[in-house]
């Protein structure tokens, strides 16, 4: 009986949604004037990971700018896992809520993007290249802007920032001479310093990224990573990775029986002296931490000379967003030179820009050149080569295999 009513109301809701969808016109990003007009007065629910204070503060600033410049209110829905927002959009699709969804903009990349794209949960077709500020985007030199974990972005997600795996250590405790320069080195270092290294527990994004970094270094044929996982050879392909982890895990913090939650957790543990080497996807994470009083000013950065993982993170709009026009205006604002320069300032956030300096005018370029990247941040030419992300299926498979092998480690 109850279920019957449930289904009935679902049908009704779906019917209503269809009726309203037919009447409400989708905003057209090529007619930008009409988009900003439609956006005025809208409230954009921006679903973004909320685990870092400096990012939250940056988003508050962006929200204030949006009200001032466009009359758009931005609400930061703080996620502890982006997958929650993906699940929410799906739950809405499940319940037939094709209009008036609760997520307007979502901070995304990699497997979450692949999943949403596959399920048809994203606003399409291509809207990102029609944004006015797209003209500044450095897609020529940053291939990860058009290819997110080997998946073509097809204009369904708008780039927001760059990321590169960088390691941090405290010079007050750790001698900079003996720092590892490859995954193999790191294992040797862990043998000498047991209990002082760890990685966030997969499926945490940064933890899984560490696994990929190792995989890229130890796999026999790197070209396999550009294609989806071949089930037949997966075990053999990843055998070196898991042989590595079998050796590394017992040498980790707490003997590999517990793992940090995520990279801010590792940052706290570096400050506490529990960990000696940590890493993050943001090259200026250490400088930001020093500025915020979370890390001592003796912390410095390093990468592997053979290269570390690099990627781009994006924002995307769900197909059923309530405030699509507002979300478009926000996505455009986030790639404005003003917003990007502020984002790259380590005192604010320190996230690398996706803009091309060559495409900016002199005044905007000066904003970036004036930035003090901080004492613990490596210069762009010191960051070393960027390694491409494998196809998302690798991440899913490795995470599954990791959980199978170590998920019940105790």
């Amino acid at each position: 009986m109850r279920i019957h009513t449930c289904l009935l109301s679902a049908t009704l809701a779906a019917g209503l949604a269809w009726a309203t969808a037919a009447t409400a016109a989708e905003p057209d990003p090529s007619d930008w004037q009409s988009v900003t007009e439609a956006a005025r007065g809208q409230t954009v629910y921006f679903n973004a990971w909320g685990g870092s204070e400096n990012i939250n503060a940056y988003l508050e600033w962006a929200g204030a700018q949006m009200v001032e410049q466009y009359g758009v209110t931005v609400v930061h829905v703080k996620l502890d896992d982006t997958a929650n927002a993906v699940a929410k959009v799906l739950a809405e699709k499940t319940a037939g809520k094709d209009e008036g969804g609760s997520v307007d903009l979502i901070w995304i990349n990699g497997e979450n993007f692949a999943s949403m794209k596959r399920q048809g949960l994203l606003l399409s077709p291509d809207w990102t290249t029609k944004l006015p500020n797209w003209q500044y985007i450095d897609y020529e030199n940053k291939p990860t802007i058009l290819t997110d974990f080997t998946i073509a972005t097809d204009g369904l997600e708008s780039p927001w920032g760059g990321a590169k795996l960088v390691f941090f250590y405290d010079t007050a405790r750790t001698d900079s001479d003996g720092l590892p320069d490859s995954a193999e080195d790191l294992l040797a270092w862990a043998e000498e310093n047991p209990g002082r290294f760890s990685y966030p527990q997969p499926p945490d994004f940064i933890g899984s990224s560490f696994l990929k970094q190792v995989l890229i270094e130890v796999i026999d044929d790197k070209s396999k990573l550009l294609k989806p996982v071949d089930e037949a050879t997966f075990e053999a392909d990843t055998a070196p990775l898991f042989a590595y982890l079998d050796k590394l895990n017992p040498l980790l913090w707490r003997g590999g029986k517990a793992f940090p939650q995520n990279y801010p957790d590792m940052k706290q543990k570096l400050a506490d002296g529990e960990l000696d080497i940590i890493f993050a996807f943001n090259p200026s994470e250490a400088s930001s931490g020093i500025a915020a009083g979370e890390l001592p000013d003796t912390v410095r950065s390093f990468t592997f000379s053979g290269g570390t993982l690099g990627n781009t993170h994006f924002v995307a709009i769900p197909y059923n967003a309530s405030a699509k026009a507002g979300a478009l205006v926000l996505a455009n604002f986030l790639i404005s030179p003003e917003a990007q320069a502020r984002k790259q300032d380590p005192a604010i956030w320190g996230d690398p820009t996706v803009l091309s300096m060559d495409k900016l005018d002199a005044a905007d370029r000066a904003r970036f050149e004036a930035l003090d990247l901080g004492i613990a941040t490596l210069r762009p030419d010191e960051l070393g080569p960027a390694l491409d992300e494998p196809h998302p299926s690798w991440m899913e498979h490795i995470e599954g295999e990791w959980l199978r092998r170590y998920g019940a480690a105790n």
Binding site: R2, I3, C6, S9, A10, A13, Y45, N47, G50, G51, E53, N56, E60, V77, K78, L79, D80, T82, A83, N84, A85, V86, A87, K88, L90, A91, E92, T94, A95, G96, K97, S102, N112, S115, Q119, R173, P194, G195, Q201, R254, G255, A258, F259, P260, N262, P264, D265, K267, Q268, K269, D272, G273, E274, G293, E294, P296, R404, G407, A408, N410
Partner: protein
């Protein structure tokens, strides 16, 4: 809750039969019990169905149209699943057992003593501290880089950096058990205080003592059996809670694998949406796990009964019970101390600048964490206060109408009604919240204030009812007889005599409901849909970041709010009814 429970004892014992004078509240009170039951049972039933169907493969939105058992088969293939189940089961049982034993030793050993009164005043307010805040406080104390190690390092331990010790998230769930025990002891203590007046404990204790039995023995042989019967449902609620808790398990519990409820939430949130079937099947498994824990507990009850009987029948005096009494006192005092110290350390972290190991205090203090948090706090704080006020207010209203109906019919519904009341506390939240979320989306209530108020009401109502029903029922109705004798109508009697006299109990019940609402994590996350966040959901979300300063701010606030509600509940009647001597503070 304490004050309410104290009222229970202070009010005159024994009630006179009610007198029917004039018209009652008519349809309002007549329909109140049915409405209350609908509020309690409806969402649970509805939600449970919404969990059960996907567990068997029926979820139209994901294309699941056929019934299958394959998701349960998948569940058994999940690595470490049985260990997760076992962890939930064991942590739940051990938590309940330790809490109850310590409480029994303490109450038995100190009932009527000076320390008993002291502990009552100390423990009562601690009930208002939310579970998550308690867990954070404990973590900040006992972690290898926590305050306890800092206080003794490096001068005593020689540690200039935190030892690589496995304390928080330990694989046996010990720190999680500690966190739960610390929080459940005040709860069980207050339930016990409420039940004590219904048991002739003073006479029994005197009798036992005069025959040469020790305090604890007298209590256990003579008082405990009837007392336990009174608090049994509350004990089962503790057991059910401890087997299915999410927030405390996230903060303190084991990770590889985590307890079952934590894994369910992970599956529910997995980007691979087909995991929802697995999560639903897991929710059914969670329900079975809690049921199994209850079954084992019932067995333990028997065993305990047999043991007590064996000792009693052999005439064991156990006169020298100093050690047992100290254990009880020590355990209860340690629980209180831990909560207080935890809150203090949270407060210090919220104003800490750089604070490196092994400094016992931060090297600098700063208001930065608060300054950054305040603008961000406005919205969750508004939602927290609105939802807590509305759900507690509605719960008090429904409770009052139900109790007034009781007066009219002189039928309290007996134990069956009490069972219904405890239903939301005994059925694991997680097993019906998945389905509730699904139905909330269908009804357009997800992310709305009304949806969240309804979801909270399910959990607030039982506590409000339990807190208010005792003082209400033990209210000396001779006052009303006198009022009626003086020609006062029924309505007037209620508003002029009964409600003012019970105002403190009513406000305390409101504060209890308020505190319960503030502590809700899962219903907030599931129904709030991210649009509505509360201090609690924000605190747990931020805990992922591991930033102790921010956690300090949120957990401290989370603790302060219920305290404010209790303070208002204590002060308001005195202010409102200044002209009545009996109601002054």
């Amino acid at each position: 809750m304490a004050a309410a429970l104290r009222c229970r004892e202070l009010t005159v014992q024994g009630t006179t039969p009610g007198i029917e004078t004039g018209a009652g509240f008519g349809p309002l009170t007549r329909h109140a019990p049915a409405l209350t039951i609908a509020v309690l049972v409806g969402p649970i039933l509805f939600g449970f169905l919404g969990t059960l169907l996907p567990a068997f493969g029926y979820l139209p939105g994901l294309g699941g149209m056929t019934f299958t058992l394959s998701h349960f088969a998948d569940l058994t293939d999940v690595p470490g699943i049985w260990r997760s189940v076992g962890l939930s089961l064991v942590t739940g049982l051990v938590t309940t057992l330790i809490s109850l034993l310590l409480l029994m030793l303490f109450v038995g050993g100190h009932l009527g003593g000076r320390l008993f009164g002291l502990m009552r005043r100390l423990l009562a307010p601690l009930l208002a501290v939310p579970h998550a805040a308690t867990a954070f406080g404990l973590a900040f104390l006992i972690a290898p880089s926590g305050e306890i190690v800092r206080l003794v390092s490096p001068w005593l331990t020689g540690w200039s950096r935190p030892p690589d010790l496995f304390i928080i998230h330990d694989s046996m769930g010990l720190s999680m058990i500690a966190g739960l025990v610390v929080k459940e002891i005040p709860f069980l203590f207050l339930v016990t205080l409420a039940a004590l007046p219904q048991v002739p404990h003073a006479d029994s204790m005197r009798l036992g003592r005069s025959l040469g039995y020790g305090r604890v023995a007298s209590f256990t042989y003579l008082v405990w059996p009837s007392l336990y019967r009174q608090i049994r449902l509350a004990v089962l609620a503790v057991l059910a809670y401890a087997t299915s808790v999410v927030d405390v398990a996230l903060i303190l519990g084991p990770q590889l694998p985590a307890t079952l409820p934590v894994r369910l939430i992970e599956w529910m949130n997995d980007p691979d949406l087909s995991m929802r079937y697995l999560a639903s099947a897991g929710a059914v498994l969670q329900l079975l796990t809690t049921l199994a824990a209850i079954m084992i507990w019932l067995g333990l009850e028997r065993l305990g009964g047999v043991l007590v009987a064996a000792f009693r029948d052999r005439g064991r005096r156990l006169a020298r019970d100093g050690a047992a009494r100290s254990l009880g006192l020590g355990g209860v005092a340690l629980a209180a101390l831990t909560i207080v110290a935890g809150i203090l350390i949270l407060a210090v972290w919220s104003v800490a600048g750089l604070w490196q190991f092994p400094d016992a205090l931060p090297s600098s203090l700063t208001g930065r964490s608060w300054m950054r948090a305040v603008p961000r706090l406005v919205e969750p704080l508004t939602v927290t206060l609105a939802v807590a006020t509305l759900s507690a207010g509605l719960a008090v209203l429904l409770t009052l109408l139900c109790l007034e109906r009781e007066n009219e019919t002189r039928n309290s519904g007996g134990t069956r009604a009490l069972m219904l009341l405890y239903l939301p506390l005994i059925v694991p939240q997680i097993s019906f919240l998945f389905g509730m979320q699904y139905c909330a989306i269908l009804g357009g209530l997800d992310g709305s204030l009304s949806g969240m108020v309804i979801a909270h009401l399910v959990f607030v109502l039982p506590y409000v009812f339990l807190s208010l029903s005792d003082p209400w029922r033990s209210y000396d109705r001779r006052y009303e007889t006198i009022a009626a004798g003086l020609g006062m109508g029924r309505m007037r009697t209620v508003f002029r005599i009964r409600l003012p006299m019970l105002s403190r109990a009513i406000l305390t019940a409101f504060a209890v409901g308020f505190a319960v609402s503030i502590g809700q994590y899962l219903p907030t996350v599931m129904i709030g849909a991210g649009r509505l966040t509360t201090i609690t959901s924000e605190a747990v979300a931020l805990s992922a970041g591991g930033n102790r300063r921010v956690i300090g701010v949120y957990a401290f606030l989370q603790t302060i709010l219920p305290f404010l509600a209790f303070a208002i509940a204590t002060a308001l009647p005195g202010l409102l009814f200044r002209n009545r001597r009996g109601l002054r503070v």
